[in-house]
Amino acid sequence: MSYIIKGNTGDWEVVIGLEVHAQVISNSKLFSGADTTFGAEPNSQVSFVDAGFPGMLPVINAKCVEQAVRTGLGLKAKINNRSVFARKNYFYADLPQGYQISQYELPIVGEGTLILDMPDGSTRAVGIERLHLEQDAGKSMHDQHPNKSLIDLNRSGVALMEIVSKPDMRTPEEAGAYLRKLRAILRYLGSCDGNMEEGSMRCDVNVSVRHPGEEFRTRCEIKNVNSVRFVMQAIEHEAARHVEVYESGGDIRQETRLFDPSRGETRSMRSKEQAHDYRYFPDPDLLPLEFDDAYVEAIRATLPELPDEKKERFISEYGITAYDATVLVMDQENSAFFETVAKGRDGKTAVAWVTTNLFGSLNKRGLSVSDSPVSATQLGQLIDLVADNTLSTRLAKDVFEIMMDEGKDPSVIVEERGMKQVTDTSAIEAACDQVIAANAEKADEVRNGKEKLVAWFVGQVMKATQGKANPAMLQEILKKKLLG
């Protein structure tokens, strides 16, 4: 999958790195005991620490540290047993301390790897540069008062993990796959809910272009893009802009830009010259964060099976394709549902039922797996009814639709509606005889070589038996009767 921009001066490739801010799932903030629940009344979840009152001191929240380590382990990254919190200094009304407590030189998590699963079933490794813990700022609201800005400090001090990739991605699709995979891992780990709409996962995109084989060129950072789709669009637009600038003899300046989804373009926010000098230095209110290997191992022991391992296992254990496995493992509930269906059954059949029939039907109804009217156990029972010839695949599909509507067990539906497939040879023969008798002309045509009409007869008999005739037997009997 290559993504090449054809220019007048040759081919251009895009170089992409992503910085994701993932809000840590924790009951209280990174350095204070204030609540973190989303959507509370403005300024109702603010401690004096979060509001930057005089003499207030930060105390690290152990849960947030655990989540960061957990996430680092999930990203197969180096865990740093000693890390240091630093202050990032700048003035803004929603930054009460006048600095953000972050990590600079010594982050809690070092280099790791994230595997992208591309739609063609291939994979690609993207390097993780680092993960560090930091405080979120409050929220400025500029549209609530004619000439004042209002500040909500509920978010002030909430823990974020900043996860920085290496500039390893080359296509918008890879960036999308990166975000989806990262989100899946965070959700598996329970360290972030990955909800981009609510802002609990935010993305800054670094984009540059170059002729293949060249050194990296100047990059621009697009701040705070809030959906996977917008990230991909922003990259396309930004890359095209770079090529245009270069090819018209201009130069790209390093700057921070914003993506406007309504116009589908990026625009400059501040140039390098206007960039803040953050004056990072180790926060003297906090000692270096230190823990031993036993602490890390204890967290490792509680890790769930992660998407990559699950994918491998699904492929080997259930014989399904890499593509199907990827679709399933991106969501923990989906994969758990699949496994319940597939346990002790044919994996390929199970995956078809789950990904095609179930997901299709759920999509149509706007439901997620957790709201599915058909349970995994019920879907398994349905597959069993096909396996033991109680139902034909065709009948099973009808039964499935009824299950989706009524939520009943398949055996009950089959019983109530007499939907059992007919496998009694004499009954099928009788039905065939009737149809042949009623369509003698057509039967002759078949006998005279128009074999294609057999299918028509199959349909007629099916109709006559309300679809209950075993299709294979019906085929065989009809052929025998018509063609001798």
């Binding site: 930057g52 009152f53 200094n89 003297p284």
Partner: protein, 489 residues
């Protein structure tokens, strides 16, 4: 009744328990004295009603035999400690009207121990200064005057109001904070005792930060025993301060055995630079002799990086303060000067709210942390700081405690050093290394200058070994027999 204010904290404690007088009587004596000596400007805010109410509660507890370590003892609180519902200014205009909705850990502990709050004592703005003259509320005066000279002298700083109040008998004791000498230097200038305990001994929670890696609270008292008693009430682990030490608090008063036989006392040769006043050098020699006489062994030691300490301090402390003081932005509390934009409001508020010295340190700190300068200044200063700490570690392999002068001069005249910050900074030359190393330092009045002004000797100890520091300090105190008092009008 007036003589009640001459009692030491220990004497008053015992008097209260013996029912010789009541906490109310003691407090009333102090309130009367505060009234009389208001010209010293030692207090920014007086809280007489609160004091009397607390005294009444103390009397009730004393009657029940339920007295805390500081029960009924009227103290001054440096106005850097946040006190719930009581104006807290840090000596700055920028905290106009700020009444904290919380109580600092140290002041809460003192309250819990039964101390009575007389008021909030004056200080250099945000504890930045060595003379008390940077206070927005006007300088506090030293109750002492040079013989035959009526000029007003500075009480030292930054805890100058506390030192003046204790020396003038308008507080039985007071809290101080020490970042580079802010307890020890004013204690020496005012002829009282002051100890900066080991960094981490007292919680910093609720103390308005100047330089977080250096700030430490401590008591300022009439004598060493009082310091031991009050330090015990102020100390202890606080989970709300990540830099607070999770160690038990020893019985400091019990450490005052007077027995220092066999202790090894170090005299750092670098503390005797050329040009050291002969009077200070003589005092120091006298102190060493007293300790020898008491059975200690005196040895010369070397602290080779001493000469870099002041420069190091004036990089690190401003760096931290430039960040610590960013929160005073007019948005949420204190002074706000309106502007047409957020940036303009910031600039107007901070220009009006901070005094010259605070602005100077914010500028210095911002500079040394800036891109391109960080390595040359801040990082280098951190490295030197580590070397200074190592100097002390090595010295303490040879000795148990270090004896040094507290300050290079006695109290100077008001206004004398304000024009020249460097001369002002030199006041901290003997106290700053201890602060950089986080070690306990005690200043004990040990004699008078030729001009009749108090001079202090400093004892520096191993980390968390305030007990030895206090014990040796007690011996100096006994030997010095310092009984002089300021002659107050």
């Amino acid at each position: 009744m007036t003589t009640l204010t001459d009692l030491t904290l220990a004497q008053a404690r015992d008097g209260l328990r013996n029912k010789d007088f009541t906490a109310r009587e003691l407090t009333e004596s102090y309130i009367a004295a505060m009234d009389k000596h208001r010209d010293l400007n030692a207090y920014i805010t007086e809280t007489p009603e609160l004091a009397l109410a607390q005294a009444a509660e103390s009397d009730a507890r004393l009657a029940k035999g339920d007295a805390g370590a500081m029960e009924g003892l009227p103290i001054g609180m440096k106005d850097l400690f946040c006190t719930e519902g009581v104006l807290t200014t840090a000596g700055s205009h920028i905290l106009d009207g700020f009444k904290p909705p919380y109580e600092s850990t140290v002041s809460a502990r003192l309250k819990q121990a039964g101390a009575v709050l007389l008021g909030k004592t004056n200080l250099d703005e945000f504890a930045m200064g060595s003379s008390n003259e940077t206070s927005y509320y006007g300088a506090s005066k030293n109750p002492w005057k040079a013989t035959g000279d009526d000029r007003d002298l500075v009480p030292g700083g930054s805890s100058g109001g506390s030192a003046a109040a204790v020396a003038a008998r308008i507080a039985i004791a007071a809290t101080g904070t020490d970042t580079g000498g802010s307890i020890r230097q004013p204690a020496a200038y005012c002829g009282i005792t002051g100890i900066k305990p080991t960094y981490g001994r007292c919680s910093r929670w609720g103390i308005i930060a100047y330089a977080s890696s250096l700030d430490q609270a401590g008591p300022m008292t009439r004598d060493v025993r009082d310091a031991a008693i009050m330090l015990g009430a102020m100390s202890g682990y606080d989970p709300k301060d990540s830099t607070s030490a999770n160690l038990p608090v020893p019985d400091f008063e019990a450490a005052l055995t007077g027995n220092i036989k066999g202790l090894r006392i170090g005299l750092p040769k670098e503390y005797r630079p050329e040009g050291l006043s002969p009077e200070i050098a003589a005092l120091w020699d006298r102190g060493a002799q007293w300790l020898k006489d008491a059975g200690a062994e005196v040895v010369e030691i070397s602290l080779p990086h001493t000469k870099y300490a002041l420069a190091t301090y004036y990089v690190i402390a401003p760096a931290e303060c430039s960040s610590n003081l960013a929160r005073y932005d007019g948005v949420r509390f204190g002074l706000r000067v309106e502007g047409s934009s957020l940036d303009e409001m910031y600039m107007k508020t901070r220009a009006a709210g901070f005094g010259t010295e605070v602005q100077r340190r914010i500028m210095m700190g911002t500079y040394v942390l800036s891109a391109g300068y960080y390595d040359a200044y801040y990082l280098k200063a951190q490295k030197v700081r580590a070397l200074i700490a190592q100097d002390f570690r090595q010295a303490f392999e040879q000795v148990d405690v270090i004896l040094a002068p507290t300050a290079p001069t006695p109290a100077f005249g008001m206004g004398e050093n304000m024009a020249d910050p460097i001369t002002m900074y030199l006041n901290d030359v003997f106290t700053v290394p201890t602060s950089l190393a986080g070690l306990p330092g005690l200043s004990v009045p040990a004699g008078l200058s030729a001009t009749g002004l108090p001079l202090g000797l400093q004892l520096i100890g191993k980390p968390f070994d305030e007990e030895t520091v206090l014990r040796v300090g007690g011996v100096i105190e006994d030997a010095a027999g310092f009984t002089a008092k300021p002659t107050l009008a």
